[in-house]
């Protein structure tokens, strides 16, 4: 049975009595919480972050996780692991009853409008297993080909020798079912819809879009964007780029009006479906460094964006600007103070300096951030899976060469 990955998002107000000093108290337990979360074997990533409420102060506590399997099991495991921190983490929420995480989640969980997965169908356990397979094989090869008596041998012989040594390590090898849809029939429907509805609608809507843009440009009150190098960003900078992965949290108000709200929903719907039906696995508009990402629309007309990505912020944002600016502009041009756009999808995120400043302005520091496999990039995860898949059964010389080339 293939494992499915899910997103859980909760954004709820903090009890007034719990607000004081909450961010410092969260910071103080971060490393303990990280240690505790290791026992939640269904958990890929998680974070707690304080975000502004409609009153403009950081009065809401958001929790997000990316997890395997049934939500009920995930919540039970979370509740157990985080029991020592329950009062601080969950008990800060208005209306939370001790011991009833599941009940609270049932009432407060928010759907992600667009949920992106970098390595679908791979459970945490599988990812860790595959990492160990890879590391074991690399170590065997490091011991020097000569020691293994592999000098001058064919790829098939080398591979067999390695697999002999790998056996008994208690690791899973060979293919696993990742539950990829075999071209679901709804894909056709999606294409038809795109060609006959979305494209004509976009064309018809173009003059209107231009009009909306120019009107907003005149009416939007200016906002001083934080320079990318504002000292305010120091705490964020200090957290970033220390390890292979980073978590970005971004929270921005929508531009006012029904048009923007509609367009936003359509774009997010479109991206979600394109992701599910066309690019099931792989890249977000040519970016291959995102483990999980999601947009969540909140009821106070603001939009949250969470992502867990590889590499530096500068590289990640650079990828946005270089490769994915059209998609991102389509989404975020509906939010306030976004760099000027043309026809809703041009300009905007392709304006390097302005886009980076805008992103930084609405970026929020994570209070607690967790990853189950901190040292793995998306491409590591996918490559390790291929190594594990090829670590059983027989291969031809050419196949064995291709497999060895992954090491």
């Amino acid at each position: 049975m293939a494992v499915r990955q899910h997103a859980l998002t909760i954004v709820a107000p903090v009890r007034p009595s719990a607000r004081h000093g909450l961010s410092a108290r969260l910071d103080a337990v971060e490393s303990d919480v990280q240690d505790a979360l290791v026992s939640v074997t269904s958990l890929h990533f998680a974070r707690f972050v304080l975000i502004d409420g409609p009153d403009g102060v950081a009065s809401r506590l958001a929790f997000e996780s990316n997890h395997d399997g049934e939500q009920a099991d995930h919540l039970a495991a979370l509740a157990t692991a985080l029991a020592p921190f329950e009062e601080l983490l969950f008990g800060s929420w208005e209306g939370y009853h001790t011991g009833d995480l599941a009940g609270f989640v049932a009432k407060n969980a928010l759907p992600a409008s667009t949920f992106y997965l970098g390595h679908p169908g791979l459970s945490v356990a599988q990812i860790l297993n595959d990492r160990d397979v890879r590391l074991r094989l690399e170590a065997l090869l490091d011991d020097d080909v000569a020691d293994l008596g592999l000098e001058g041998e064919s790829a098939v012989v080398i591979r067999n020798r390695l697999l002999d040594r790998l056996a008994g390590a208690g690791l899973v090898t060979g293919p696993v079912d990742r539950g990829f849809p075999a071209q679901p029939s709804s894909t056709i429907v999606f294409y038809v819809l795109v060609v006959f509805v979305v494209v004509p609608a976009a064309l018809l809507g173009l003059p209107f879009a231009l009009w909306v843009e120019s009107r907003e440009r005149r009416s939007e009150s200016p906002r001083e964007l934080v320079a990318e190098d504002d000292p305010k960003l120091d705490p964020i900078n200090r957290r970033e780029d220390a390890i292979t992965q980073n978590g970005l949290t971004h929270h921005v108000p929508m531009r006012p009006g029904v048009v923007r709200a509609r367009v936003m929903r359509i774009v997010l719907w479109f991206l979600e479906n394109a992701r599910r039906r066309i690019a099931y696995e792989g890249t977000l508009g040519g970016i291959s460094s995102i483990h999980f990402a999601r947009w969540v629309m909140l009821d106070d007309d603001t939009v949250l964006f969470f992502s867990n990505y590889d590499g530096s912020w500068e590289a990640y944002l650079g990828d946005f600007v270089d490769k994915a600016h059209i998609y991102l502009t389509a989404v975020w041009s509906n939010t306030k103070w976004f760099p000027d756009t043309n026809a809703l999808i041009f300009g905007g995120a392709s304006k390097e300096n302005a886009f980076k400043r805008w992103t930084r302005t609405f970026q929020i520091e994570n209070r607690i951030w967790y990853s189950a496999y901190k040292n793995l990039t998306v491409s590591d995860v996918l490559r390790n899976a291929l190594v594990r898949e090829g670590a059983s059964g027989d291969m031809t010389e050419a196949q064995a060469r291709a497999w060895l080339a992954r090491l």
Partner: protein, 462 residues
């Protein structure tokens, strides 16, 4: 066609002064309240060379750059100082910058000989170039004489020498690849990529077709226009350690030819400069260094030139995901103009001779120019050279420049058929001895700064 204001842009921005082999970099401080940086700069600025060719063939060159503390010392207002990029404001030795640059352990600013917290503050960097030993000494004495007379102090001094052809201390041909700046009067070599001027000079369009942010004066003067930002890093090279390691790891062990081959695979070029992608098996000797090459089609798996080789990491050209074209476009936004030169005695001879320790201090004074520290120099350093996950690699950093953060040493993978070879436990070969971030003003900005500084000199308490 971009029209560069050559008479306003300092010469070092567009030229490497290859015909002037002797260089001296003088780091100056005007900490003393009695000193007169204003008077000094008012005199010096008339001698600073621009990029326009002079009437007579120049025998020497003078260029000058300032740290952020230096600009403050010249009397710039708070708001003017705040309009410079944060990296300049913080300086290279700041903790956040070290975090981004990977300047930790052996490379930690605490142990630096210049620019670190335990060294004196640096206000200005004077860069001097001349034809021969006597000329550089005379030029240096003249310039330093005036500095001393006006109360300035030389905090640190480095000398560099270009040997013809230029080889860096490990013995590899250097200074080959350089982007061609749009509008530069330097003739373009066919192998060079053209990069928009705004990637290196403020006031022109950059690779995003935008104008780079430029620091501004309260009087409306555009301080940044025709200026640039300069990175200075003194990189000490352990030549003996490098060659000993290559000999030890070579197969057969101790074989000079195999050691040279191995060393070349770390660099990505042969000692002559010939690219491994074009000559995977042997060094064709001088003449091939200027050949054009790329990675995507010629060597996708790195079996000719390892994926983690220094020149791949420093300029991945067309090799990055998702496609050759996208890669070229993205990589074009992170280019550097390199102006560094080797320092210290030459190391010569066979790998075995080079591997004999002689206790000499040698290395590279790495100098690079860019319009954005963060998007160019720091990006190259962080996302390419020091990134353990560069181009799908698993856990290794630049074999030449990276500081080894793990006491077990670091890996270097050499893809081959049927199976890769991975060197484990490589030591660190290059150690950062210090450095700084500088602003290279235009000639007009030098005049503006000089008048500011003169006012400030005059206003000082009696």
């Amino acid at each position: 066609m971009t029209q560069l204001e050559l008479s306003d842009i300092q010469g070092i921005v567009l030229f490497g002064y290859g015909s002037l082999p002797h260089a001296r970099w003088v780091h100056v401080s005007f900490e003393n309240d009695e000193s007169e940086p204003g008077t000094w700069l008012s005199e010096l600025r008339h001698e600073v060379h621009a990029s326009a060719r002079g009437k007579r063939r120049q025998e020497e060159r003078i260029n000058v750059a300032f740290t952020h503390t230096g600009l403050a010392r010249l009397g710039l207002a708070e708001s003017e100082l705040a309009s410079f990029p944060r990296e300049l404001q913080q300086g290279m030795s700041d903790q956040l910058r070290s975090h981004v640059l990977g300047d930790v352990d052996e490379n930690d600013p605490k142990a630096w000989e210049l620019g670190g917290p335990s060294n004196g503050p640096i206000h200005a960097l004077v860069m001097l170039y001349a034809k021969n030993v006597d000329a550089i000494a005379a030029l240096r004495d003249r310039v330093v004489g005036r500095i001393a007379a006006l109360g300035g102090v030389v905090v640190h001094e480095d000398s560099g020498e270009l040997r013809d052809p230029l080889h860096e201390p490990f013995g590899f041909r250097d200074g080959i690849t350089q982007p061609h700046v749009t509008g530069s009067p330097r003739p373009r070599d066919p192998h060079e990529d053209e990069v928009p001027a705004g990637e290196f000079v403020l006031g022109y369009r950059n690779a995003y077709d935008e104008f780079p942010p430029s620091p501004q004066g309260t009087d409306g003067f555009d301080i940044g226009s025709n200026g640039s930002y300069l990175v200075y890093r003194k990189l000490q090279q352990d030549t003996a350690g490098f060659w000993q390691c290559m000999l030890d790891r070579a197969r057969p062990n101790g074989d000079a030819k195999a050691a040279t081959k191995l060393a070349s695979s770390l660099v990505g070029r042969w000692p002559s400069g010939a690219p491994l992608v074009n000559y995977p098996d042997h060094d064709p000797g001088p003449g091939a260094e200027k050949e054009a090459f790329a990675f995507h089609d010629a060597d996708p798996a790195g079996t000719k030139c390892p994926l983690g080789a220094h020149i791949r990491r420093a300029n991945p050209r067309d090799m990055l995901a998702p496609s050759a074209n996208e890669s070229r476009r993205a990589v074009g936004r992170h280019r550097l103009l390199r102006r560094g030169r080797p320092y210290g005695p030459i190391s010569k001879g066979t790998p075995a001779q080079r591997a004999t320790p002689d206790g000499a201090d040698r290395g590279l004074v790495f100098i690079a120019l860019n319009a954005s520290f963060r998007r160019q120099f720091e990006f190259v350093q962080q996302t390419w050279l020091n990134n353990p996950k560069f181009a799908g690699l698993y856990d290794e950093r630049d074999p030449i420049t990276a500081s080894v953060m793990d006491e077990r040493g670091q890996h270097f993978s050499i893809p081959s058929v049927p199976v890769r070879r991975r060197l484990a436990c490589l030591p660190q070969f290059v150690t950062l001895r210090g450095g700084g971030y500088f602003f290279v003003p235009s000639l007009r900005a030098l005049a503006w700064l000089a008048s500011r500084a003169t006012k400030r000199d005059a206003a000082r308490p009696p």
